[in-house]
């Protein structure tokens, strides 16, 4: 098992190296002149361009620049924003907790509803119940997060005033920032402010979780139907075991394998989906930062964020693979 993990980690190294080359060229070969011109946009003056070229090292040969870039990356230096001068790592540490909270919220929604729905549909295949579940999952994969987000915001925030529409916490509550996790900060401040933090999480979590919900529902349904047709399930029933025992001990135990894999793979997709969801709900996370940086032409930040997302994505995939090998003794990676 350890060898498998080491091999997978080593396998990610060439991928990240390749990506670092592409991202390096992304910044250096921006259309419209050099990188300094692209970053400065309309504000480009020959003096400013020369200054940025010098401070960022854009005036050196490409290979020198690349190795300098790689050296900085290995030291954990992801560069700084040209807009506010703050280092990417610092801002990332402030914004990432918001994205983690949103991802967890969406996962709880998608798993908490998707698995029961999938099991329900599988228990009554081709019935009207199955039909309704199929329609729900069809909607889930067909509705963009921004359409669902705005529609829910209109109904539950604008019309009904049940839930807040933007942000992570009510600014009037004046909750001190300790961990940057709004829910934890709210708990630390006491006074039941956690209710406010959770209320802010509901709509974004549902919007972001709609696609994973649909995927998890479909996979659960298919997996449960698959396993239900296995010989050992028929044997278990023939032995006279109760329905619930067959369901829990024989069907679900085996159906969990594909379901957990898909849940793991959805985590990476959730991080990408956060880009849109955070923009809809003015959520202070990494996703809305990507969009803001692109609008600001802050390409150093964009470059670093794509790399960070890839590292997270690869890490999550690795954890999924290792978890799968743990869960399924029939598959041992050699």
């Amino acid at each position: 098992m350890l060898r498998f993990i080491v091999r997978r980690v080593l396998g990610a190294v060439p991928v990240l190296l390749g990506l670092s080359i592409i991202l390096f060229l992304f910044l250096r070969l921006l259309p419209g002149g050099g990188p300094a011109e692209a970053i400065l946009g309309q504000h480009a003056t020959p003096e400013l361009v020369a200054q940025i070229n010098h401070t960022q090292g854009f005036d050196q040969p490409l290979y020198v620049q690349y190795f300098a870039y790689l050296g900085r990356l290995l030291h954990g230096d992801l560069g700084s924003s040209v807009i506010d001068g703050r280092s990417v790592v610092d801002t990332f540490l402030v914004r990432f907790p918001g994205t983690i909270e949103l991802t967890i919220g969406a996962l709880i929604f998608a798993v908490g509803i998707g698995i029961p729905l999938g099991r329900l549909a599988a228990r009554h295949p081709n019935s009207w119940i199955d039909g309704i579940v199929t329609v729900i999952s069809l909607f889930g994969i067909s509705i963009p997060v921004f359409v669902l987000g705005y529609s829910m915001a209109f109904v539950f925030s604008v019309e009904l005033h049940w839930l807040p529409q933007v942000g992570q916490l009510d600014p009037r509550l004046d909750i001190p920032v300790v961990t940057n996790f709004s829910v934890i900060d709210a708990i630390l401040s006491g006074n039941w402010h956690i209710v406010d933090a959770l209320a802010h999480l509901i709509l974004p979590s549902i919007a972001l979780g709609s696609i994973p919900l649909a995927v998890i529902t479909r996979i659960t349904r298919a997996a449960v139907i698959d396993v239900s047709n296995e010989d050992y399930v028929r044997t278990a029933r023939a032995k006279g075991l109760t329905d619930s025992r067959v369901n829990d001990r024989h069907i679900m135990r085996n159906a969990w394998l594909p379901v957990t894999t898909v849940i793991g793979l959805q985590v990476g997709q959730l991080l990408a989906g956060a880009v849109l969801t955070e923009t809809v709900f003015t959520w202070n996370g990494v996703g809305s930062w990507v969009v803001k940086s692109i609008q600001d032409h802050d390409f150093i930040v964009v470059q670093s964020l794509i790399l960070i997302f890839a590292v997270i994505f690869l890490t999550v995939n690795l954890i999924v693979d290792v978890g799968y090998a743990f869960l399924n003794p029939r598959i041992r990676y050699s």
């Binding site: 390749g18 990506l19 994969i141 509705i143 989906g273 880009v275 994505f313």
Partner: protein
């Protein structure tokens, strides 16, 4: 040749003449959800083609022609947007941009992915390893983020969006085709064909490609649904065609996001257009999967 082998031969060729595609087509035509999907797509295609004929107004008239954010009524059945432009007209014209950009993006991805996959799966060895590492790199960046990065690099415009989404989708197709080709190379019927003396070319074209292509066709149809959503997503993030006069569903949504309270129809109609067209491609894709691989049908 004995009489019995001749009979077997004619029997086999009779079955073959009905063909995989013929069988699949008749199965598809019996699949009601797939027909609904086909109908929805046909509806939007007709809207797109006939937009200049059926649209009551100009999609982007010069100067203000009506009240901005006018609620839906008989003169403007879907209301007007912040420029006072007719929303219904722009939804019809938007079908042209949004569907074309989405479908062409998938075609770009399909062509790129098929080339990479066929070369990798066909050549094997070193070429295969290098090409697969390249797809690994592309797959390491989650889809929409890769497309966003490429548009940020290429600049805004319809061609740029098609390329960005196409590049983001190509590794998926490459992997799929390569995987099928590798699996088929070892399959019994390919081995049988080989042992009967069929040429490698004939094996590839007659035996392997038809079977390797079916998952690609299914995946491309389903990808059209996500591509329409992703293209709208890019428009929504302000990375759309870049010209406010061009009607694009995602960009229409962005334009209206400040007016949720006063003009919710500006969210509702473009949103519904995106959702319904995505549903169409998803239903058709699922139907195609069942039609092309009947073993999946439960």
């Amino acid at each position: 040749m004995t009489a019995s082998t001749a009979a077997v031969r004619t029997g086999a060729s009779k079955r073959a003449s009905r063909g995989l595609w013929h069988d699949a087509f008749s199965r598809l035509m019996r699949n009601k959800p797939a027909l609904v999907g086909l109908g929805l797509i046909a509806f939007f295609v007709i809207c797109a083609i006939l937009a200049p004929v059926i649209a009551p107004y100009d999609p982007a008239p010069a100067g203000q022609t009506a009240f901005a954010r006018h609620a839906p009524d008989l003169t403007h059945i879907m209301g007007t947007d912040k420029q006072g432009w007719d929303e219904y007209t722009r939804i019809l014209y938007g079908a042209r941009i949004s569907l074309t950009v989405g479908v062409v993006a998938v075609l770009f991805g399909l062509i790129g992915g098929t080339l990479i996959g066929a070369i990798a799966g066909g050549a094997g060895g070193m070429v295969d390893s290098i090409l697969m590492r390249v797809t690994d790199i592309l797959l390491a960046v989650p889809g929409i983020l890769l497309a966003i990065g490429i548009v940020a690099w290429l600049g805004q415009g319809q061609i740029q969006i098609m390329l960005a989404v196409g590049i983001a989708y190509s590794p998926m197709f490459a992997r799929l085709l390569r995987g099928s080709l590798l699996a088929l190379r070892e399959s019994d019927y390919v081995m049988a064909a080989r042992s009967m003396g069929a040429s490698p070319r004939r094996i590839l074209v007659r035996h392997m490609l038809p079977n390797a292509l079916t998952p690609l066709i299914v995946q491309a149809t389903l990808a059209a649904a996500t591509a329409i959503i992703d293209v709208a997503g890019l428009g929504f993030l302000g990375l759309g065609p870049g010209d406010p006069r061009v009607a694009e569903w995602g960009e229409m949504l962005t334009d209206s996001k400040g007016f949720l309270q006063n003009a919710p129809w500006l969210i509702f109609f473009p949103g519904a257009a995106i959702v319904i067209s995505a549903i169409g491609f998803n239903l058709l894709g699922d139907g195609l999967r069942e039609a092309l691989d009947p073993r999946l049908k439960r």
